[in-house]
Each structure stands twice: as C-alpha cells, then as structure tokens.
C-alpha cells in the first residue's frame, strides 16, 4: 500500500544531479527493481525476524532508528497519562459527590473545553506564552525535565478532560446501585462507602477508557511531537512521509500497530485485576 505514495524514492535519494545509472543502482540496492507483486512478500517474510529493512534516506537500519525514538514517545505518553490520571480521577469523583452544584457545572464545562481544544493550537499558544513571552520553559527539543513540561501538559489536558467525564458518570452510576444502599443501611460511614464500595466499582470503566485513550494518544503523538520538535516515533513517521522514505514509513507504522495491540492487551489484563469477576477465557 505504501508503494502507492506518488514519487520515486530512488530519485529522491539520488538527488537532483544524479545520473540515470546512479538512480538505477539505488533502485537495485533497495529491491525496487523487483516486480511490484514480489516486494510485499519479501517484506512480510522479513517481518518475522524483525528485519524492517534499511532507511532509504539515512542508510541505517529502520529497526535501529525506530527503537532509538520509541522510548521518547513512550516517556511522553506515560508522563502525560500519569498527570491526567492523577488530576482527572479525583476531580471526577469530586464533581460526582457534589452533583448539580456550581463546582460540578464548572468541572463539566472544563472537561468539554479540554476535549474541544485542538492540541496543535494549545501547544502553539503555550509556546508563545511560556517560552517566547515569559522565557520560563524551552519551546521544544528534548533532554532536561523542563523539556517535558509543555508537551506533557498539552497531551494531559485532553486526556484528563476525558477521564474527568467518564469518572464522574461512572461514580454517579455506582452511587445508585443496591450494594451502596446495603452498605449505608449497615451503618458504614460515607467515607468507607465511597472508597470501599463506590470507587472500586466505578473505576472499572475508567481503566478501559485510559487504556483506549492511551492508544489514541500514541496517534496524537504525531502532532505533539511535531509542535515541540520532540524526537519521537510520531515525528519520525511524518518526516519519513515527507521524504518518501518507504521502508521507514512501513517500519514505524508496523511498530506503532504492534505497540497499539500491546496496549490493548495490557488494558484487558488490568481489567481482570480491577474486576475479579472478569476472567480471561
């Protein structure tokens, strides 16, 4: 499928001044002179040994480049998920316990704003304010903890808005369950009811959402990493697309899909811990 991208990679690689023979030589090296129907099969056979080919641009193995970028993407995804969960879950529970109050309305509005803010816009505005005007934080790049602050907040805000919404709905739902009535009639304190009975049950859908969102967060990395010049997998894909670096596009998408499947699997596993009723068949 990737081969349908218009443009000839051999020609891009050879440069404007290259002769026809040079282009032909590069084609041969990349296996591009083999028939189109043979290429995908060779590729798939190589996948089993994680041989993702060689970048058409830098000549280094695709797997090497992808693996060098992967930790950066994961670090950002984990830090923003952690921030979003740490703030989102308590805020959702808080809003649920004061249902229909002013605070609740405020929190709900905040969560819709968070979902609606385009990440790329939020990122640019934050760079303008905190990096350009106030000189507090670096505008982009990677290295020190300070570099994490802006990208983490940018991603976390969206995720947090989502978590607040789901947590609130789930807690309100659990509050009306019979076991809560039973617990109350046993004379348990509201505190115990909230922590032991409501939260344990209410968190199940929240875990699912966090897992699902973690996946789409990886997709969103494409944008965040572009804004903050973050050396991650998302930017690797965009650069590779712009450079017509087919092996790199294929390889990084493959790893991305693998990672995404892994996240979904882990979500299912965590599910069984949070909800002992669920058993893996």
């Amino acid at each position: 499928m990737i081969r349908l991208i218009p443009g000839d990679p051999a020609r891009v690689l050879a440069g404007l001044m290259a002769s026809e023979e040079d282009v032909e030589l590069i084609r041969e090296q990349l296996g591009l002179n083999k028939p189109l129907y043979v290429q995908p099969f060779t590729y798939m056979a190589n996948l089993f040994t994680f041989n993702l080919g060689v970048s058409a641009r830098t000549d280094s193995p695709v797997l090497y480049e992808v693996m060098a970028r992967l930790p950066n993407t994961l670090a950002l995804a984990l830090s923003s998920t952690a921030l979003a969960v740490a703030l989102g879950v308590p805020l959702g529970v808080f809003a649920a316990s004061r249902k229909s109050s002013k605070i609740d309305t405020l929190v709900s509005t905040f969560s819709i704003v968070g979902i609606s803010l385009p990440t790329y816009w939020l990122g640019l505005i934050m760079i303008t304010v905190f990096a350009v005007e106030l000189h507090l934080l670096p505008a982009g790049g990677y290295g020190t903890p300070a570099h994490f602050v802006l990208p983490t907040i940018t991603i976390a805000l969206f995720l947090m808005a989502f978590i607040v919404k789901i947590t609130k709905a789930s807690v309100i739902d659990s509050m009306e369950k019979e076991y809560v009535v039973t617990a109350r009639s046993k004379g348990l304190t509201e505190r115990v009811i909230l922590y032991k009975h409501i939260l344990r049950n209410a968190l199940i859908p929240v875990v699912t959402i966090i897992g699902l969102q973690f996946g789409s967060l990886l997709g969103g990395a494409v944008i965040t990493e572009t804004i903050y010049a973050w050396p991650g997998l998302g930017r690797l894909i965009i650069d590779a697309i712009n450079n017509r670096d087919y092996p790199m596009v294929q390889g990084s998408i493959f790893i991305f899909a693998l990672l995404y499947a892994l996240v979904n699997l882990v979500t299912d596993l965590i599910y069984t811990i949070v909800d002992p009723r669920v058993r893996l068949g």
Binding site: M1, I2, L4, I5, P6, T109, I112, V113, I115, S116, L117, P118, T119, Y120, W121, L124, I125, I127, T128, V132, G215, S216, L217, L218, G219, G220, V222, I223, T226, I227, I237, I238, I241, N242, V249, I253, F256, A257, Y260, A261
Partner: protein, 273 residues
C-alpha cells in the same frame, strides 16, 4: 424530536453553542459577501501585519486578510466535517446493522475487516490514507470518514444485537415480516437516538482530524484557507506574528466546542429517558 429540541435550549450553554454553530454556517454560506477581501490573492507589501482597522485579524505571511480567510475557511471546515461524518456514519451504520442482524459469516468478515482498521489509532489511519492517496479536499474527507467508520460499525452492531432479541422484533419475524422491513422499521428507529448523539460528537472530531492533517501539511493544500493548514503555515512566523495562529485556532475551538456541547447534552437527555 420537539421535546428533545426543548430540552436542548433549556441550557444556556447549549443555546450559545447552537448560536455559534448557526453563525459559522451563515458565514460559510455567505462567505463571498461577508469577507472584506479575497482569501487567496496576496499582497506582499503588507505581509504579517498585526490586527488593524483595515484588517481586524491582521494579515498573513503573504499579506492576505486573515479575517477573510477564516470566513472562507468555515466553508471548507464545515464541508469536510459534514461530508466525512455523513459518509463514515452511513457506511459504518449500514455495515454494522447488517453484521449484527445476519451474524455468522457476514459478521465474521466485517469484524475482521474492522479489526484491520482498528490496528492503528484513528488519526494515524487518516495520516496514512492521505500519505498514500495524496492530499486534496476529497482524500481528506475520505480519510477522516475512514477513521470514523470502525466505531460506527462496532456501535451499531452492538445495538442491533440487543434490539434484535426484543420481543416485538422476534414477533415481527415470526409474522413473516421481511428482513429489510424489520431493519428499517424496527431496528433503525430503536438505535438511532444513541447514534445521533455519537454523530454530533463526531462532527467535532472530524474537524479536529481534518485540521490536524492540515497542520501537519498533509491536509487541504494551500492556498485554500483551511484553518488547520493556516495554523501549520502560520507556525513559522508565530514568534513575531502570533496573530497568525490565534484566530484560525480560535475558530476550530469554537466550532468543535459547540458540537461537543450539543452532542453531550443530547446524550444526557437520551440517557435520562
């Protein structure tokens, strides 16, 4: 439907959202009359000028009036949003209902197909699609529609599975009512409220996806005044001309917020019934 409309306008925030949306639709329809300047023609002598009386939102890197571009951009953004969501929802819902209703082989095939689409996060799927097919208005619409399809298949399939076991549907089947009639008369009306809430929310998502593509430089290509594309090119100049990124982004936010607020409220109203 009337009660739903009445419930909706009760909330001030929802009413405000509806007004915002209507004004953007108005802007899109009458862009040619409303925009003070051409959105395409450039004048390099006035490039990157901050907001002034002649140009309330300032001018961009080619000296084009940003207000005019935002107004014309509404046309593009809303077209993409409505077209992509309509295609995605239509395909997804039809496939989902058929899959849930007939089960067996039909179900297996469609579900494996859905698995393939779900192998990548939605936005990345859209990115790959435009990377392969080239980027223009049609491919952007198609890519966003494609990324929305799987959720509609899953959702309408699940709902159909529930509804098809309801007693009156079983009764209709016993009476020999044709499958097509059962689907159009019983299943669709039953599952549509939930789907309508989803569609409203997706109108916002579609905009975020389409302008996200534009931001990355693989959306609707310049010189078209698509909001995301404007943000993407404006980014280069934002350090000394921040007005280039403020207004297109604000437009995206307002429209997406309105769709989300209305969709959220529809969901609440349906759930409370």
């Amino acid at each position: 439907m009337n009660t739903l409309a009445r419930e909706l306008v009760k909330s001030k925030m929802v009413l405000a959202s509806i007004i915002i949306l209507l004004s953007f639709i108005f802007m899109a329809l009458f862009a040619d009359f409303l925009a003070p300047y051409s959105p395409i023609e450039s004048d390099l002598s006035i490039s990157n000028k901050p907001p002034s009386w002649e140009h309330p939102f300032g001018t961009d890197e080619l000296g084009r009036d940003i207000l005019s571009r935002v107004i014309h951009g509404a046309k593009l953004t809303l077209t993409i949003s409505f077209a992509a969501t309509a295609i995605g929802a239509l395909v997804g819902i039809i496939v989902g209902i058929l899959s849930g209703f007939y089960g067996r082989a039909v179900d297996t095939i469609t579900q494996r197909f859905t698995d393939v689409l779900l192998a990548l996060p939605g936005f990345l799927l859209a990115v790959m699609f435009v990377a392969i097919m080239g980027n223009n208005l049609a491919t952007v619409i198609a890519s966003v529609a494609l990324s929305l399809v799987p959720s509609y298949i899953r959702m309408s399939r699940g709902l159909t599975l529930q509804v098809k076991e309801l007693e009156y549907v079983l009764a209709a089947k016993q009476l020999g009512v044709s499958n097509i009639k059962i689907m159009t008369r019983h299943i669709i009306p039953n599952i549509s409220p939930t789907l309508i809430a989803q569609i409203t929310l997706n109108l916002g998502t579609a905009i975020l996806f389409a302008s996200g593509l534009g931001f990355l430089g693989i959306g609707v290509p310049p010189p078209q005044p698509e909001w995301g594309t404007m943000l993407g090119t404006g980014r280069t100049y934002m350090f000394y001309a921040p007005h280039l990124i403020i207004f297109p982004g604000l437009a995206v936010f307002l429209v997406v917020f309105s769709f989300n607020k209305i969709g959220d409220r529809i969901g609440e109203v349906i759930a409370s019934k």
